[in-house]
């Protein structure tokens, strides 16, 4: 009974990353193909295993010991018609599968359209880093955008009659990564020196989980991915906030000065301040994100402080070092970062 509960529980959890719970056309096309091939292979499975077990049972030696054990069975050397038949049957199945997968291929890999006014489409360049995601928003509904965020991709939900497709240009800053959110689309690699194009479109708002699917070094497992699908109104509110430079709250001027005086700014960017590093996640609207460390822990004050004190306590082997800041300075910097809504 406990096992059943556990099973049901894990089935409910699994829905958030299952390839059989598609919420976007490419993932739906692939599921259709998957069901077709499951039916065909299950049929082959039962036929062949059936013949195998029947033969073992029917022709086993103990059953035939009644006769003279030294006689050999009839020797059959082969048969051309039979061979032709069981060459043709699999060939036919292969033909059907090639046709089906070709159709699916053209459905999930369309030609890349160019942004145009009123197209309702979102264009984002996703750049893989060891071990986090950079999202550079370039265009929405034909209107050019130019801001950068990290690890949580916000996209608008479509409505019946008004699809809002998302086109991702995939790139890498270091090694090969792979963008995989199973409910939205199949995975596609982010390859240094190559531009890849991935698309999806969903009408269901919600949180879609995924993670890097190509081994990329120490924290490959810690390169989690969150796609937040919002109603168009919510998305546009989020967009408007992200386009603003960072909040400049005079109450934390001391903290801001502490932040800018440290090496933080070599790698991190806070738009509207001298901090314009490009190696690490953009912190302009850090507090608009729900998680830290590429999805590993909730983004709250306690985790933020723990992270800055020693990132390796949360994400062993990540590229941000522990700087040995004094507790006072740590608090000042956390105070400042906590205002970056």
């Amino acid at each position: 009974m406990g096992g059943l509960v556990l099973l049901a529980n894990s089935a409910a959890q699994a829905e958030q990353t299952s390839i059989f719970e598609p919420a976007s056309p490419p993932a739906e096309s692939i599921r259709t193909l998957a069901i077709l091939v499951f039916v065909i292979t299950l049929f082959i499975f039962f036929v062949v295993e059936g013949v195998l077990f029947y033969s073992i049972w029917r022709f086993r030696r103990s059953k035939q010991n009644a006769g003279d054990p030294t006689t050999e069975p009839a020797q059959v050397y082969g048969s051309k018609p039979i061979e032709v038949a069981w060459t043709a049957a699999p060939a036919l199945i292969v033909f059907v599968l090639v046709l089906a997968s070709t159709r699916t291929l053209w459905e999930v890999k369309p030609n890349a359209p160019a942004p145009s006014a009123g197209d309702n489409a979102l264009y984002v360049t996703a750049i893989g880093h060891q071990w986090w995601w950079e999202f550079h928003y370039t265009s929405y509904n034909g209107e050019p955008l130019d801001f950068i965020t990290a690890n949580e991709l916000h996209v608008p939900a479509g409505e019946d009659g008004t699809p809002r497709p998302v086109y991702l240009t995939l790139r890498s800053a270091d090694v090969i990564h792979s963008f995989w959110v199973p409910r939205l689309a199949g995975k596609l690699d982010l390859i240094p020196g190559v531009d890849n194009l991935l698309w999806f479109q969903t009408n269901e708002p919600g949180l879609y989980l995924g993670q890097c699917a190509e081994y990329c070094g120490t924290q490959h497992a810690g390169m989690l991915l969150r796609v937040v699908v919002e109603s168009p109104a919510d998305f546009e509110t989020w967009l408007a906030n992200e386009r603003q430079p960072a909040v400049d709250d005079p109450a934390v001027a001391q903290g801001k000065a502490a932040f800018l005086s440290e090496t933080c700014i070599n790698c991190h960017r806070v738009r509207g301040t001298p901090a314009d590093g490009t190696y690490a996640p953009d912190l302009t609207h850090l507090m608009s994100r729900e998680t830290l460390a590429s999805g590993l822990v909730p983004n709250d004050r306690e985790n933020l402080r723990k992270w800055i004190r020693n990132p390796h306590d949360i994400k062993e082997g990540c590229l941000m070092p522990a700087f040995g800041l004094s507790p006072e300075k740590l608090d000042l910097i956390v105070d400042y970062l906590a205002t970056l809504k």
Binding site: E83, T218, H220
Partner: protein, 552 residues
């Protein structure tokens, strides 16, 4: 030499037991294909234990979500060394070793065509393996994954010399494998017994011939690519460095141009073993030999043109995706032909389920499943979801354990009596078989499910809220059920060496030439070279009234 005289030799040898240094010297300097074959298999067994232990460490790390048993870097090293070892230092040596022992006997030759080259091949393979393990002396093994995708292998991302040891070791053992391939081709083409025309070659040597052709075509690109890695690392070349117009995709093409034929190098010889065992234990001739032979060649050729199905997720054009999907699916046609012919051979036979046949049946039942999940992976769009997920891990272990390993065990149980003069214990064989089968099912079955639930491979831990924990726990339990089956196997090998039932020359009442000589065979294999009239020379000898050559 007369048999009595030889037995006298053996008796006098036993009376004056040679010093262990003399025995060691004899084995180290030997050029006898049988001793070299046994050394290959011993090497494979030792590395099997090492790589198996690595697998258990990984399974224990994955037993709980966010489990903290080994560090991420150690985990990444474990799966790199596990994969590299199992493919290059367990699978290949066992396959080459078994063929080394059996092929010259089956084609009626006194030894391989180039005995000294044969010895060189073994020692290169062994030292290649040791070189790869030397990487631990640099402070840790490489953490690349066994296919070591660029640019992870560049100095920027792999700073220690571990990667250099890894690449050097594989270059060295690659040359060893090449010499074995050359030797098998020469032996099978030029050293066959009188009367054994090309159409009368027993099925196992026939598959080894085409395996060797694949070795000759597939290994050089790997060696070249590894040398390019060394150039990049040691001489600041930029083959795989994208910042200097190098291409990381080039590595994938070169690696998989080796890597795909490689998986057939690991399975074609098994098709050969199964095609020897099923007829003997069904008391029938192999059904449709010509079609089986042609299917073997077809697999060897088609599999040279399917490599990029490992690369569907790099974003190739739709046309290339379609071509590689179609070509990969084509392989299933000759493989299907083989399956149906094996079943037809059993049909109407008198089937004994002795240990070699038991493992063959395990092979048929399991390899089918691995083949069917292979069809799923060949469909490019479905692969966009499945690639690099645990589904793939489940699939290729199903093929390599359910296929290659079950087939190898069938070969061990079949030919051990020939090599040692003793039978392996049937009781231990049954224990091994059922523990392995159940453990294998529990370990790799759930991986297909967790993969479809979105779990990527090569992650050292996972989030608790994903619903993957249960499936990982079943896998881990399965791994610990499997583990004792390997202990039983090794124990059986050792125990039976002294206590096994005496085998006699031909314990299975078999059909091919290796059973015409003593067990174990003398250094020169045959007193006089046998003359062959059909594919089953011993059947002809036992049934002079109804010989095979009348029908072939």
């Amino acid at each position: 030499m007369a048999v009595a005289e030889r037995q006298h030799d053996l008796a006098s040898q036993a009376a004056t037991k040679p010093a262990w240094t003399a025995v060691l010297h004899d084995w180290v300097t030997t050029a006898d294909h049988k001793k070299i074959g046994i050394m290959y298999i011993l090497m494979g067994t030792v590395f099997l234990v090492i790589a198996g232990a690595q697998a258990l460490f990984m399974r224990w790390q994955l037993v709980y979500a966010r489990h903290d048993f080994v560090s991420p870097d150690v985990f990444n090293q474990l799966f790199t060394m596990h994969g590299t070892t199992m493919v290059f230092f367990v699978g290949m040596p066992m396959i080459i070793g078994m063929a080394n022992y059996v092929v010259p006997l089956q084609v009626g030759a006194r030894d391989m065509a180039f005995p000294r080259l044969n010895a060189l091949g073994f020692w290169l393979t062994l030292f290649g393996g040791l070189l790869v393990y030397f990487s631990y002396a640099t402070g840790g093994a490489p953490a690349l994954g066994w296919f070591a995708y660029a640019p992870l292998t560049t100095k920027t991302f792999a700073r220690s010399a571990a990667t250099d040891f890894w690449a050097l070791g594989l270059i060295v053992s690659g040359f060893g494998t090449l010499t074995a391939g050359i030797n098998f081709v020469a032996t099978i083409v030029a050293m066959r017994a009188p009367g054994m025309t090309f159409r009368k070659i027993p099925f196992y040597p026939w598959t080894i011939l085409w395996t060797s052709v694949q070795i000759l075509i597939a290994i050089p690109p790997l060696t070249a690519a590894l040398i390019m890695v060394m150039f990049d690392r040691q001489l600041d070349a930029h083959f795989f460095d994208p910042q200097n117009n190098g291409s990381v995709v080039l590595w994938q093409h070169l690696f998989w141009f080796f890597g795909h034929p490689e998986v057939y190098i690991l399975i074609l010889p098994i098709f050969g073993i199964v095609s020897e065992v099923i007829p003997v234990f069904s008391r029938k001739v192999l059904f449709g030999y010509e079609f089986m032979a042609a299917a073997t060649m077809a697999i060897a050729f088609i599999s040279l043109g399917v490599w990029a199905h490992h690369m569907f997720v790099i974003g190739m054009s739709r046309t290339l995706d379609m071509y590689f999907a179609a070509a990969s699916l084509l392989v299933s046609i000759p493989t299907g032909i083989k399956f149906f012919n094996w079943l037809a051979t059993m049909y109407g036979g008198r089937i004994s389920m002795a240990s070699p046949m038991l493992f063959c049946m395990g092979f048929l039942a399991m390899f089918l499943i691995g083949g069917l999940t292979g069809i799923m992976l060949a469909l490019a769009p479905f692969d966009f979801q499945l690639s690099d997920s645990y589904f793939v891990v489940g699939h290729f272990h199903w093929v390599l354990i359910g296929g290659t390993l079950f087939g190898l065990f069938a070969g061990f149980y079949y030919w051990y009596p020939k090599a040692t003069g003793r039978m392996l214990s049937e009781r231990l064989a049954k224990w091994q078989f059922w523990l392995l089968l159940i453990g294998f099912f529990l370990t790799f079955g759930p991986m297909h499910i967790s993969g479809m639930l979105g779990m990527p491979r090569r992650i050292f831990t996972y989030e608790a809220d994903r619903g993957w924990e249960l499936w990982n726990q079943i896998s881990t339990i399965g791994a610990f059920i499997q583990a004792p089956s390997y202990v039983i196997f090794v124990w059986n090998l050792l125990w039976s060496l002294r206590h096994g039932k005496p085998a006699g020359d031909d314990p299975w009442d078999a059909f091919t030439l290796e059973w015409a000589t003593t067990s174990p065979p003398p250094a020169y294999n045959f007193d006089s070279l046998p003359v062959v009239h059909s594919r089953r020379p011993l059947w002809d000898a036992k049934h002079p009234d109804d010989p095979d050559w009348q029908y072939e």
